[in-house]
């Protein structure tokens, strides 16, 4: 009997696929739609300290090797999102992950406190949005000390809700950031966020995104994500959600073999449809059957042995 379930920092998932933050997570209905399509857990689009409308379009488009976006963390703010979070938790049968961000540490604490009251299964700190430097400043996850300070402060107000930190590969050494997060009390890591990039339209002679810089996702970044998870797995003991360009069961297994406990899926919805969660789970199961694995656990980190 093949067991597809995973235990993620004490939270039980029926399968390892998680809807990544920023994708489809605008409403409770949208998250429910993703659940119906097979996800093991879902992440809400990051909620911040105040309402944001994001950048003007173009904010998202597909290019030859992936998706490129600079939405700009649009969200109704934590006070305007209370109903949505409550409703999501109420109608979902799978774990709900509350993604959040803020500008200052005190606002991080304020948002986390308000979110913790609503009892999400996990709180994920988005410390690595590459598209909001103009008004939110430098990414917290670009610096060891900033990462430590924000996580240790938030950790004090979230009680026993597992706290994850979403990291970026756009740093000299992601393992230093990962270790800092772990020592500050993070219960898990999510790696990686989108990778910063620019595409220029040569006819218009200007960057395509209104924000010019945006985060690359999709197949182009998968090896970058696998490398990050591979190195983090060696550096920390806390579980990792591996994210970045997962389109197939094999892609997910790469991340699991690198050391991920669960996998985030986002852009893959564009490539394989909303039911990608079902498809990937089925493909993982088929692989396990063929290769003689009985549990996800048995595959975790095996790439480190060879």
């Amino acid at each position: 009997m093949i067991d597809l379930s995973v235990n993620l920092a004490g939270i039980q998932l029926k399968n390892p696929t998680i809807l990544a933050s920023g994708i489809m997570g605008v409403s409770a209905s949208s998250l429910k739609f993703v659940e119906e399509n097979g996800a093991g857990a879902v992440t809400i689009k990051s909620i911040g300290h105040n309402e944001r409308f994001g950048h003007h379009n173009p904010t998202v488009y597909a290019w030859e090797k992936g998706i490129h976006n600079a939405v700009g963390l649009s969200n109704p703010g934590i006070d305007g999102s209370k109903d949505k979070i409550q409703k999501s938790i109420k109608i979902l049968k799978i774990p709900f992950i509350g993604s959040m961000f803020a500008d200052t540490i005190s606002n991080f604490v304020m948002v986390a406190e308000k979110m913790a009251v609503l009892k999400p299964a996990i709180i994920e700190l988005n410390l690595s949005c590459p598209n909001t430097a103009d008004d939110l400043g430098r990414m917290y996850a670009s610096d060891v000390k900033m990462t430590y300070d924000v996580i240790s402060s938030v950790k004090k107000v979230v009680g026993n809700i597992p706290l994850f930190a979403k990291l970026t590969a756009d740093v000299t050494d992601i393992t230093e950031i990962g270790k800092s997060a772990e020592s500050a009390g993070a219960d898990g890591l999510t790696a990686i966020n989108t990778v910063s990039g620019i595409n220029i339209d040569t006819k218009l002679k200007r960057p395509i995104l209104t924000n010019k810089v945006g985060g690359l996702s999709g197949p182009a970044i998968r090896p970058i994500g696998v490398r990050a998870v591979y190195n983090l797995y060696k550096a920390v003991k806390i579980p990792i959600i591996g994210t970045g360009g997962i389109n197939t069961g094999e892609d997910a297994i790469e991340f699991i073999m690198a050391g991920a406990t669960a996998v985030g899926i986002g852009s893959g919805i564009y490539y394989r449809g909303i039911d990608i969660f079902k498809k990937v789970t089925t493909e993982i199961e088929e692989f396990m059957k063929k290769e003689g694995y009985n549990s996800i656990e048995e595959m975790r980190g095996v790439a480190h042995k060879n």
């Binding site: 605008v26 409403s27 209905s29 409308f53 379009n57 173009p58 488009y61 703010g77 200007r206 395509i208």
Partner: protein, 286 residues
Amino acid sequence: MNTEKPLILPIKNIITENERVKTFVFEYEMDFAPGQFVMTWIPGYDEKPFGLVSRVPGEFMITVAAVGESSKALHNMNVGDLVGFRGPFGSTFSLPEAGSIALIAGGYGMASLFNLAKEAREKGIDVHVFLGARTKEELLYLDWMKELGAILHVSTDDGSEGYKGFNVQVFSDVILAKAGIQTGSPNGVGDDKVIFTKAYTVGPEIMEMKVADICYQNNIPFEVSLERYMKCGIGICGSCSVDPVGWRMCAEGPVIDGEKLKQITEFGKYHRTASGKVENYPWNKD
């Protein structure tokens, strides 16, 4: 056209429809089906969804009212200036095999319905168009619809052309007249007695709501195009998902059939803004 990076095209021709509305023509064979839209990039301003129109092969058009910053910027552009397109995106209208269809269009809705009318006429289906606008000047595509051989039922708010009142009223009057019910209304007099095989509506949501009610009451199958705030157009951002089913109006929509519409409880009540916050329609007192 694929759905990848924006396709950049020069404006081939600009048709001034009236003081506020212009139609922009582009030379490109856009492979779309009636009801689909393109994300239209006005460089330096914004990117917005517009219904696709094509009258002749090798050309497509969008019709745009100057209502916001980006549409005003587009209005200020000239022939030869460059615009970007992603698409076509979204679900499509479907025609019956034969019979008589009703198109109920308000605002700029006619843009999304033009090619449906064209295809229907090519299949030999009778097309009744209930075209409503505030004034005579704002009636869109009137000559083009006549050219197709559509049966026009025109109404204006100020009575400057056709029936003085709403197109929804005309639609209702014609249905009653077809059913042989005397209403005393001038609408539908002398019309044939064939009840519509199917109806299609695009326009302000309050109008679409009323059309939906009339169709449910008279058991007329129908399709509606539902507009929601869009960012990606490719089904991943979730901005245009509707309650409580979560369907994306850029993927499962914008064209929704009457039976499925019953499941979209936010229809006619509220929508979401660019931040994702719920905003009630002014007439919704729930």
